[in-house]
Symmetry: C2
Subunit: 146 residues, 2 copies
DNA sequence: TGGATAGTGTAGCTTTGGCTACAAATTGAC
DNA sequence: GTCAATTTGTAGCCAAAGCTACACTATCCA
């Protein structure tokens, strides 16, 4: 079923974006507040809180009422994978000549449809085209600051 | 709002897939029956019929009850754009080393998040890498059999 | 000319992901 | 310590996209 996999990728896209944002807020701000998550996503806080409830239900997040959101181990693992994949997609788009701002925008949607084999191909491509100036950190490796 | 554009692309993805499939069925079978559309998508016919109703509501499709589905001018125009973009995405993925079957699967989801500038970059990239063996038909040009 | 089969449509249900409006808790400034 | 502002949570609404179950129409063949 050619479209079924795209449909299931679409279904997990929202969860992936949430854990990515939560991990980022935890790293940079020390805490992830519902309001900040909502603002980053461009939705109302009510929507964010409801979706965060689903993340908790699905074992990706936890936290007590009025005390911010945290990630479970599963949530952290997902966030790491999502973050690395996001960067790889951005890098590939830019390597193909897509302007940086556009690459960032499009990657936000494309990333959720990049399967394992495709991601591997992307990384091989980037490694191969590293004739380009700056020293390249392999996108597949866990970033040092993790 | 970085995620808002991805969200709106997601919203139109289903309509794009439907018109693409309908156009394909009209071309190859001469008619587009709800059951065939449903089978291609991997959903039940009830779901397909309901979605086709939305396409009609939105001016992309038409047709009388029990008489198959047709595309409006807007629907045909959308189908043409979607088909060309689909092929470009598949070509780029394969050029990057993604196996053909995987490229086809992933493209089905990725295509809906490829913006105009990114598509243009893809086409420039393909035109540039046409050092590769077989004569390349520019993906941006309307295909001859249209 | 019937039926059987295949296709289409409708009804009713669920989940997701949005929203507004309002209520409750926390935090920060006096 | 109190009170205003911020943040969080809840309730109730909606549309989309899926499903099953059932009813209706068309088609095809004996
Ligand atoms: Mn994303
Ligand atoms: Mn992302
Ligand atoms: Mn598609
Ligand atoms: Mn497609």
């Amino acid at each position: 079923m050619r479209h079924a996999s795209a449909r299931s990728a679409r279904a997990s896209a929202l969860a992936e974006d949430y854990v990515e944002i939560i991990a980022d807020l935890l790293n940079t701000e020390g805490e992830a507040r519902a309001t900040d998550i909502a603002r980053r996503l461009g939705v109302t806080h009510a929507t964010a809180i409801k979706t965060i409830g689903r993340l908790k239900r699905d074992g990706l997040a936890n936290g007590k009422p009025y005390r911010g959101v945290f990630l479970t181990e599963a949530g952290h693992a997902l966030a790491r994978r999502v973050r690395a994949r996001h960067q790889t997609v951005v890098d590939v788009l830019q390597a193909l000549g897509v302007p940086p701002e556009v690459a960032e925008l499009d990657a936000e949607g494309i990333e959720h449809h990049v399967s394992g084999p495709t991601l591997a191909a992307f990384e091989r491509f980037l490694a191969g085209s590293s004739a380009t100036g700056a020293a390249r950190i392999p996108a597949a490796m866990p970033p040092a600051e993790e």
